[in-house]
């Protein structure tokens, strides 16, 4: 579903070039829920932004559903973002002037006219994630957890191949975080959604099928889920401790 091969990315600050990603290789299968973890500056968000086609990368290749991202024109990249990818941001990125229902429908609106089927899908997603009662409210009137669930619903409205989530629980309390993670799991189980999530939170990551640990722009280790969620979290914490040492 998602293939990343030998990915390189650096940032230029003045005359100095700072390499951030130094040859990243991995793939995510359909229906898989994968998290990326690592210390600050390890390149997690840069990796996600490259996959999201938000920023250009220097070398290597990224393939989403068989389509290579490198070399595509702006128009095609926009189409890929709209149809093949879904996004969930740390700060929700809902449009303040639109109601929750309208926000969920934005990716469809960008495609053109919104039909009855899209509205029904939005309703179903909202019900599935427990936000059906706030559909006509505006972002300013709902809680952070509800906003993020609306963002997840928005990311699923076009039935994308991959949902890319950047620290989706970063701005939420533990209760809301859990609800959002459960939302992802529901999307994975009921809609066979493929989820690629960047997080700092080992608790959130422990719900994933696999965790990629990044260190200094390279993959330090990949940890597969075994046992219960709690056991997996312990395993993750050990791996992180080992990486920090």
């Amino acid at each position: 579903m998602l293939y990343v091969k030998n990915l390189y990315k650096s940032y230029q600050v003045g005359k100095v070039k700072y390499p951030v990603l130094k040859g990243i290789d991995f793939h995510v299968a359909q229906g898989e829920f994968v998290a990326v973890m690592g210390p600050s500056g390890s390149g997690k968000t840069t990796l996600l932004n490259c996959i999201s086609c938000y920023i250009p990368f220097d070398g290597g290749s990224i393939m989403v559903g068989g389509v290579k991202l490198a070399g595509q024109d702006e128009e095609t990249l926009a189409k890929i973002r709209n149809t093949k990818l879904g996004f969930v941001f740390q700060d929700f990125m809902l449009l303040d002037g639109l109601s929750i229902r309208e926000n969920i429908l934005v990716p469809r609106i960008v495609q053109g006219e919104v039909g009855r089927d899209a509205e029904q899908l939005a309703e179903r997603l909202a019900d599935m994630f427990g936000i059906g009662h706030i559909m006509d409210k505006y972002p300013a009137d709902v809680s952070g957890g509800e906003k993020q669930r609306a963002a997840v619903a928005r990311s699923l409205i076009n039935s994308p191949m991959v949902i890319l989530a950047d620290e989706p629980t970063g701005n939420l309390d533990s209760k809301s975080s859990r609800i959002v993670i459960e939302t992802f799991i529901e999307a994975k189980e009921k809609m066979e959604a493929t989820i690629f999530m960047v997080t700092h939170d080992s608790f959130a990551a422990s719900f994933c099928d696999r965790v990629i640990l990044l260190k200094d722009g390279t993959i330090y280790r990949q940890v597969e889920k075994e046992g219960s969620q709690r056991e997996f979290q312990d395993k993750l914490l050990d791996a992180i401790r080992e990486m920090s040492a």
Partner: protein, 707 residues
Amino acid sequence: MTEMLNMKEMERKLQKADRKHSRLYLICNFIALTIISAFSALMCSRTVQTVFPEGGDSRKQMYAIFVMTLAGCVVFTVYAVGLFFRHKSRQLGVLMAIGASRRMLLPGLFREVFFLSSFSAAAGILAGFPFVGIIWGLFRLLLVDSSEMVLSLDFRCLFISGAFFLLVVGSACLTAWRYLKKTNIMDVIREEHINEPVRELGRWCGPAGFLLILAGGVMGYYAPLMWMTIFSAYPPFWLSVLYVPVFVGLYMVMLHTVVHGWKIQKKNRYKNIISRGMMKFQGRQTVNNMLVITLLIAGAAFAIFYLPVGSLSSLLGYRAYTCDYFYQYRADQKIPGKEAVVELAEQYHLSLKDWSEAEYITLGAGGEGDVSDKDGHFHMEYEVLQREVRVISEDAWYTLTGQQAEVLPGTYWYITNAQETNIYTYEDAKDLTNMVTRSRIDTEFAGYLHYDLMVDEIGYFVLDNEEYKMMAQGLTDDWRGRIVQFNADGKDSYPFASAFYRLFVNSFDESCEQSCTYDRVVKIRENERGKTYWMDTERGDKYKISFDQTDSMAFKMWWVYRPSFRILLINDYLRMTGVLYMMFLFVFIVCLTTALVICNTRCRTIALNNRYVFDDLKKLGAPPAFLAREVGRQCSGVFVTPSLVGMITIYLLFSGILYANDGRITSYEVIALGVCLGILVLVGVVVYFVYRSTVKTIRRQLAAFSS
């Protein structure tokens, strides 16, 4: 169910939700366009164009202030569009992030900015006309009214407003294009939160700025003089570039002021850490705004100083005249004599006294002049027929002034005013020529005599009686003339003065329809050399005066035989110069208003950008008084520094100009400068009130944000 089903409707809804930011943008554009439209309408009006002498200093100053205001408004509108897009960028970024292509967003965004910019600009242009009409009407109603004050607009001013309109719309569309062209979508999303990168600003910045101001000022002022001395050529235009360090220095001083401040906090170095810390992230953009505000305050001060400096020395000078009525005329003109004047005065129940008359002659005087060479250089050369001068004898001097002058043969005395501020001083004549017989005598400057009424552009020499007689021999009546002066016995009569003025002017024939710039001696000299005198060419047209407009300011100021009737000069002064002064008063109002609007907007932006800091401080337990003080500090930098710099600079500039005119500050000028100082205090009070009101508004907004 949602009613919003397509992109267009979604954009419309988002625009509606964004109307707070759109309104700010609309208001900024509207104000800028109203100001430029009103200013250009008045500047290009026939009312102003007729009164302001073409090529004159006042017109140049008016244009210079207009350019300053225009620059201020351009920066202001560019800043406003930047602010609008800073708020808009998140929305654009989110739409791009979830798959809206640039091509998809382009039409809606262009439609929005085109509508906002063109609507606000067009409304501003239209509002400029009633604005200028109302202000001018108030001037006429409350201050001065005359036939010359009737506002007659020339709609060619729309070219200026039109160009500004295109600039506003163009810059808005260009900014929209720039945002959509960004390749990094994350940059677009985070634009609202991006501040200036913090670069450490050395403490040397301010002192170095002062050095640059000084160096630029000295270089800019002396370079043309040095150029002329070294190369014997007129300085090229580009030499003005040497003034550039002044502006760079000003920028550095302001940057230092907002980032570091000038107070050395030895006791409590953490005192201003919050306000200085905030400024580290927006010091440069704040300083850009402050420079514009400085320019506008300087423009306002320059315009308002024009009133006291221009009018006080004239009015005080008229009051100091020793005679109520003074005039001179050529002997070939049939001017009413004493009997006719006395008779006219009686009609107005006025008796006259102290009547005295004397004869004068007009001669050619030698002098130094710069002669242009073909290669753009020039050299100084003594010309025998350098200029026309009026000459009186020792006896005539005594008759008119009651003062004795011991003039030795072979010398001349030059008459100047009591303050010795006459800008035309002819000390270099070595010979005098009778323009009819061409007889010539050698002469030499002996010194100054003082009589305010005999100071004009042509000037008077006093000669020894015998020498005077010798030079007068053979002169025809058009080179001879009479000087007359008298006083009103008792209270003077304005109606008489007015009637006599009309009678006097109407007695001249067309050969005297000349401005004081016209020099008959130079004309003869040039014609004898086979050349055309420049005043007889197209260049001279703008200096021409006409007997058809004897009540115009130009005629009353520049006619070569203009009389000095004190009561007329004093009473007609404001009426005569009304357009000139009201124009400058208008410019003052416009510049000050624009500066204060920009101050207000800038302060609100700073507070808006730092609202989270204020909120955090509140959460950390900062008392309301502390927060109020911090808001006040932020705003005071924006209000105080540009106001002080602008006002002090222009005050010093005016003092310098007054000093440079004649190498001294006269008592009249001291009074005028005192009045200017008073005006500055009043302007300071206005600025303070706007500052207080801005601080109050910001505190209210921050309180609303926190709650």
